[in-house]
């Protein structure tokens, strides 16, 4: 069953076409990655899924719902972690989780979510005093506290040290194992390769490839490289002269 269906999505900002024509669907229980260079339309695509932006043409459906027209309903099922967002500096970790869980009709137990992301010992720490990694973990927790069916993570591990990145990957897998469908926007090919079941490679607002990470590597033509990595393959796809 497709949880998210995108058909012929197009979005312009003035003269600039951010997304020209993108279609794909995300299946239930998948970890679905969206990769591509800056300006390829990754964030715009997920913002249309989240209902933060209205497509100029094409359709987006989340669990069969229109994220713009049925915004409130979609928000209940969608957990979102933004590329950059803040909380009030003096808000404590537990207060943030408690507050955000009150926004949802059937929230998860925020204490369990806090334990899951490993912030129990920081429960009384103010947001402004958290380290970058801890802020990131709180941001993930806030995306999960509404008990979502779909979670969207944009730049999940940017700014994290190697150990924190691996811990975060383990966390994402355990969330998926509970049945949550995950969309992951990433610049990191190692992350995409290890986590994602399938990848959409975007180039200049269009789909350059849609396959498993292994499939993308196998089908890539990377001249002069014996055993291309996913990064080689994606770079070859996105640098291709049009």
């Amino acid at each position: 069953m497709a949880v998210i269906e995108i058909a012929n999505l197009m979005k312009r900002y003035g003269e600039l076409t951010a997304v020209a024509d993108v279609s794909f669907s995300v299946e239930d229980g998948e970890i679905f990655g969206i990769v591509g260079p800056n300006g390829a339309g990754k964030t715009t695509t997920v913002e249309c899924v989240e209902g933060m932006r209205a497509p100029d043409s094409g359709t987006v459906r989340v669990l069969g719902l229109d994220p713009r027209r049925e915004r409130a309903a979609v928000r209940r099922y969608l957990g979102i972690q933004l590329q950059s967002s803040e909380l009030p500096a003096r808000l404590k970790v537990w207060e943030a989780l408690d507050l955000y869980s009150s926004f949802y009709p059937e929230p998860a137990d925020w204490k369990r979510v806090m334990a899951e992301v490993g912030l129990e010992d920081k429960r009384n720490t103010a947001f402004g005093k958290l380290s970058g990694g801890q802020k990131q973990r709180l941001s993930i927790a806030l995306a999960l506290v509404g008990n979502p069916r779909v979670a969207v993570f944009d730049e999940l591990t940017t700014g994290l040290d190697p150990q924190s990145r691996r811990d975060t990957w383990a966390l994402i897998r355990s969330i998926r194992d509970r049945g949550v469908t995950i969309i992951l926007v990433s610049h990191f090919m190692d992350e995409a390769e290890r986590l994602c079941d399938r990848l959409a490679v975007l180039r200049a607002g269009r789909l350059a490839a849609l396959d498993t990470p292994a499939g993308i590597v196998a089908n890539a033509s990377v001249p002069g490289v014996d055993r291309p990595t996913l990064e080689d393959a994606v770079l070859a796809l996105t640098n291709d002269p049009r």
């Binding site: 989240e50 933060m52 928000r75 979102i80 933004l82 967002s85 909380l87 009030p88 207060e95 926004f103």
Partner: protein, 246 residues
């Protein structure tokens, strides 16, 4: 607990953790009364110009109007636009919570601070300068509540349409200073007739007049009540409609 109740409780805690907000919202009106009462010669003595009344008795309702303007146009507006600039609103926009829940919570917190601050100011004036209980307590409370509602709605409207703190500070200043003028902050209770006729139709001018009328025992005049109710309804609705998370 509902989102509005939880937001109000959380925003109250955050408010109390911000010393500057607590000072301006809660302690400032009382401090101002005490300073003016002690520093200005004759402020607490019967004055021949006022038919034997004391200036402080006439100024106290104007002080309350000033407190309303400061808490709404400064504290409330900057709290919301600060949230917008820092991306706090953007984060909240990803959840099912409605803008009106946030606006309501912000209004509740700031109105609470305002009531506490004004109560404190009155208590300070009563203890230090023997200011009497207002002659029409119900009328004063009504004028104060409606004045808070009207100015709160204007503040939410400014916050709803301001893209950043720079624009917000500009708009708030354009509203705040003339409002204080029409409330009689600089002219005192005795205002030139023409100014007063304009002031009747501004929300803070109406609040100030209504407070002054009730203070001496009259009921607020219908025109003042109508101006405050209309302002609250019009700007409150517009704020909820025009509010942008980003």
């Amino acid at each position: 607990m509902t989102a509005i109740a939880k937001l109000s409780a959380t925003e109250s805690k955050l408010f109390l953790r911000e010393p500057i907000g607590v000072f301006f919202g809660v302690l400032f009106p009382a401090a101002l009364i005490l300073v003016l009462g002690s520093a200005i010669p004759g402020f607490t003595d019967p004055s021949k110009d006022l038919d034997g009344a004391r200036p402080i008795d006439g100024y106290l309702p104007i002080m309350l109007a000033l407190a309303i303007a400061t808490v709404t146009m400064v504290t409330l507006v900057s709290a919301l636009t600060g949230y917008r600039e820092k991306g706090v609103l953007r984060r909240m926009a990803t959840t099912p919570v409605s803008p009106s829940a946030l606006l309501t919570a912000q209004f509740v917190v700031n109105a609470g601070a305002l009531f506490a601050g004004s109560g404190l100011a009155y208590a300070a004036a009563a203890i230090a300068f023997h200011v009497q209980v207002p002659a029409n307590v119900a009328g004063v409370l009504l004028a104060f509540l409606l004045g808070t509602g009207a100015m709160g709605a204007v503040a939410l409207f400014v916050a709803a349409i301001s893209p950043n703190t720079r624009v917000q500070a500009g708009i708030a200043a354009i509203v705040y200073y003339p409002m204080m003028f029409f409330a009689g902050v600089w002219t005192g209770p005795v205002m030139p007739h023409a100014v007063r006729r304009i002031a009747d139709y501004t929300p803070l001018g109406a609040a100030s007049q209504a407070l002054q009328d009730a203070w001496v025992g009259d009921w607020p005049r219908p025109v003042h009540l109508a101006v405050m109710v209309a302002t609250a309804a019009l700007f409150g609705t517009a704020a909820a409609k025009l509010f942008r998370w980003e």
